[in-house]
């Protein structure tokens, strides 16, 4: 299934990164933002999940900021720029969190994958 997930994800990301033809006006964005989402977020699910296995375990080794930026990027499709905006941190800082987080994840997963 991984290959199919990869296709769907890549296609979705391509669409997401395409310049938007119609921007929502601010009023609508605020309205949409004001709708509460009662369902548990992916980060919550990740914590609860027993299945996510090795990766979930390795995520625990990351700092809070690294975890948060990687989770937001993966599940919500945020780019570096959007992450910086969302987390209200400079772009360079966010990029570093992501990069270090990924490096640490890889080191953690490496022995099992080898």
């Amino acid at each position: 299934m991984t290959w199919m997930t990869a296709i769907v994800r890549n296609r979705a990301l391509d669409l997401l990164r395409r310049p938007r033809e119609v921007e929502l006006d601010e009023e609508h964005e605020e309205l949409i933002a004001s709708i509460p989402d009662e369902s548990p977020g992916p980060d919550e699910l990740l914590r609860q999940s027993a299945d996510a296995g090795a990766l979930a375990e390795c995520m625990k080794l990351l700092t809070g900021e690294q975890q948060k930026s990687i989770t937001l990027a993966f599940f919500y499709g945020l780019s570096h720029g959007e992450l910086a905006q969302q987390m209200q941190k400079p772009l360079g800082t966010v990029k570093t969190w992501v990069r270090r987080g990924l490096e640490r994840l890889k080191d953690c997963l490496e022995p099992r994958n080898a």
């Binding site: 991984t2 997930t5 990869a6 994800r9 990301l13 391509d14 997401l16 990164r17 395409r18 310049p19 369902s39 992916p42 699910l45 990740l46 999940s49 299945d51 996510a52 296995g53 990766l55 990687i70 990027a73 993966f74 599940f75 499709g77 945020l78 780019s79 570096h80 720029g81 992450l83 992501v98 990069r99 990924l102 490096e103 994840l105 890889k106 997963l109 994958n113």
Partner: protein, 240 residues
């Protein structure tokens, strides 16, 4: 780009899979990916690390029309006649009233047939004469018979060169008696003769319907799963 540098390659692959690359970098990277096997291997490694995460997300059932559209595209615009395994998978959609309306919409397949003449009322067939609600004149007839797999083959005849206002759609409903919500049979056209197939799971509902109605809805059909516009035609079934 210095792609011989394994570390850099690795890092870019990770960012690509994670999805953090800005648009232009992403496009450039996709092009490089096609030419560079080492890069593809790095990307696949990161995919195998990250993509299992997707499994923890709750599934979202796409609306029935998405499937219908995909099927239609696969089969070159010709909407296929009820592939059984597909419909059987839909049973769980009937959880909510909206879902069941969507189900009804999806389950009904229309095949506009220019050929066949208006069917005669033969014994054992169901016939509904639907009157124009304003003039009280007959405006449409619906007759149906049993298909081979228990489905109902419904032939519609629209009389008098009816016209549909632009940006609207005609939606057929079966009425279930008092205090029960009408069930959508899907959209129809203004063609004089058309055929639709109501699947076996809905057959008894159709056979026992208290009446049929056609309402004017926004293009694409009722957004709520219940009639939202005026009912133009309405009629009760006669058994022959």
């Amino acid at each position: 780009m210095k792609l011989e540098n394994g570390q850099l390659r690795e890092r870019l692959a990770a960012e690509y899979v994670l999805g953090t690359m800005p648009p232009r970098a992403r496009r450039r990277f996709s092009t490089l990916l096609k030419q560079n096997p080492a890069l593809r291997r790095d990307v696949m490694e990161w995919e195998s690390r990250f993509l299992p995460l997707v499994d923890i997300l709750p599934g979202i059932q796409p609306p029935a029309r998405v499937w219908a559209t995909i099927e239609a595209r696969i089969h070159g615009n010709r909407i296929p006649r009820s592939p059984a395994s597909f419909w059987q998978n839909l049973s769980f959609w009937r959880a909510s009233s909206f879902a069941s309306a969507a189900l009804a919409l999806a389950l009904v397949i229309f095949i506009s047939l220019p050929g066949p003449q208006a069917p005669e009322a033969l014994p054992g067939r169901m016939v509904v004469v639907m009157n124009d609600m304003q003039t009280q004149e007959p405006a449409m007839t619906a007759t149906w018979e049993h298909g081979k797999q228990g489905e109902r083959i419904v032939r519609l005849r629209v009389m008098g060169h009816a016209e549909m206002a632009p940006g609207t759609a005609w939606e057929m409903w079966m009425l279930q008696g008092e205090n029960q919500k009408p069930v959508s049979l899907g959209l129809i056209t203004t063609h004089e003769t058309q055929t639709m197939v109501v699947p076996a799971v809905m057959a008894s509902q159709l056979d026992n319907a208290a009446g049929l109605a056609m309402s004017v809805e926004p293009a694409g059909g009722s957004p709520t799963g219940l009639p939202t516009g005026p009912v133009l035609y309405y009629g009760k079934p006669l058994k022959t």
